[in-house]
């Protein structure tokens, strides 16, 4: 059943883009690993939003299916990332990502 009152596709895409760019900006400007993790979540969430909006636009369930996979991915990613953060903090006693440059060339 179509929803007449729904906002437009462009609006959804623009919102998702805006959120994604905000997350990307945060990712680039924060040095604290935890903040970076949050920003990653923002980006993931923006992508998920895009899926749902597109799915709603085309009227099939694929968008929400993809949303579920995105959420799954985010859950796994956060679990691993937080474990990494804990290890990082135990080893370096800081959460500064700039200290984590042992692989520099």
């Amino acid at each position: 059943m179509p929803i007449e009152t729904a906002p437009g596709l462009e609006a959804g895409i623009l919102l998702a883009s805006t959120l994604f760019c905000l997350g990307l900006a945060g990712l680039m400007m924060r040095r604290n690993v935890i903040f970076m993790l949050m920003c990653v979540e923002i980006c993931t969430n923006a992508a998920a939003l895009m899926f749902v909006v597109a799915g709603a636009h085309w009227g099939n369930a694929d968008g929400q299916v993809m949303f579920i996979f995105v959420v799954t991915l985010a859950a796994a990613e956060v679990a691993i990332a937080l474990a990494l953060v804990l290890q990082f903090y135990h080893r370096k006693h800081t959460v500064d990502i700039d200290q984590l440059n042992d692989l520099r060339g």
């Binding site: 680039m28 700039d98 520099r104 060339g105």
Partner: protein
Amino acid sequence: MQGLLAWVPLLPLIGFLILVGIPLFYRREPPESVITVIGVGSVGIAALFTAVATAAVFWQTPSGVVNIALWQWMQLGELKLGINFHVDWLTLVMLMIVTGVGFLIHLYSAGYMRKDPDFRRYFAYLNLFIFAMLTLVMADNLVLLYLGWEGVGLCSYLLIGFWYKDPVNGTAACKAFIVTRIGDTAMAIGLFLLFYEFSTLNIPELINAAGDPGADREIITIATLLLLGGAVGKSAQLPLQTWLPDAMAGPTPVSALIHAATMVTAGVYLIARMHPLYTLSETAMTAVAIVGALTLLLAGFSAIAQSDIKRVLAYSTISQIGYMFLALGVGAWSGAIFHLMTHAFFKALLFLSAGSVILSLHHEQNIFRMGGLYRKIPFTFLCFTIGCASLAALPLTSGFYSKDQILLRAWEFHQGFNSLWLAGVLGALITGIYTFRVLFLVFAGSEGAASRHCKDANTPAMTIPLAILAILALLGGLLTPPLQAVFGTTAERHPAAWVEGVAIAMPLIGLGVAWQLYRREKKTGEQRSRVTQFWFSGWGFDWLYDHLLVRPFNMLARLNHNDMIDALYKGTAAFSRQLNTLLSASQNGQVRWYLATFAAGSILFLALLVAL
């Protein structure tokens, strides 16, 4: 009975494996008697098996052929190769020479090499050599033959450099290995060519295929010439003869076995084995004959000028193999093989006698320091004289029959007087001269510097082989192998009597010349004329190759000391390193920096998308 033939090559292999594997089971070196039993016994049993098989299978049927398929070796597309043996009378002759003479020389070695610290290693190499040589002659396909071919080359290298602690010996071994490798490369290319043309390397099939009238004659010519290249290398013919005189660095029994009786005749065997192909190409035949004629003359002259007893014999070997090539070149296949056989007898005899002399004189090899030895080591003198007579082809000796046959065939082949025959006759004269020169210098005349310390070193292990070989050298001419089944019969034509007379006369003239020149040679030292110096150096081939190949190569190598071509790769490496430095700078380990570049890249990409 056929199973016995399969055991013939395997027995020396087993002997080799046992001798090599001994340290795996015993910490201490086993006594020499055990090694002798294993090393000599394996070859002796092989000789026995050969004799039994010959008597049982072939004596009544000269045209008999035995094929023994042991197992599949490899199969690559059309190429099907097996460890298969093909035995006919040609093979059998070779088998008898290799196992029989080989056994005698093994036995002699047990005496000659006594108390050598590397006794076990010596017999291991020798057994391996016998195995490889038997593989060579029994192979029914050219690749297996090539395996044996390279195997004997390896053993030759190992044995020339047997006393490796002297760098000279190592150099000689390397020289032999490298020079023969040139020939082997040609041979390998020849094999490729044959396979490319006929899609088989099985010898009987190959001969069938080449006999087809539609076969490409040019390809056959080129292939046979390439095979000749291999034969030239292995048999020390012009222009690859330079390695053989140096190969005398090895123990004397090794010289007798490998560098006189068996291995160096492998080239003759190869051409004889492939003779249906050669008959198809006149060019190849002519090339074989010319190589043989030139070699026999050049080597003969060189032999006259030598002062080292083993080098004389070495040059004489080259010269005699030249005869064989000449015989092959004029289509006297059985003559060539017959000469091969008699040569194996008398040359082994000569070398072993020379070894006996050397051992008696405490490793003195210079003939100008010998002389008058006939009183001190009479048995050796007797053996050496028989060998010399046979080598010079004095009438009624074995060498006479075989060489006479060659000269007659050479006369017939070109219907009369011709340069090849002339070369052969001249060679016979020269053979007479250098042979008796050595005999007189060593055994006759006044005593040389080394002769005074002479002490007969013969043991029963040495005298028995010498005696047997002496009998063979004298009477071997009666053992004409029945090779008609292999080579076919040719119509007997009797040339003019004077032709035969010349052949008989030449060695006698040579004997006379030698008597005149060298009977009373002063044993004080060597003053050589310019010509003899030239001959001494083997016609300057070593000098020529040194200046033509070795020095330019060395110079190039020196020039290239810093690797001109490597500079390219080094440059690449340096360039990569520069790039690495550049990229490393971007790889700064800062996640946020990566993110920023990632974002910038996305922006650029999207800008492209927007712009388009």
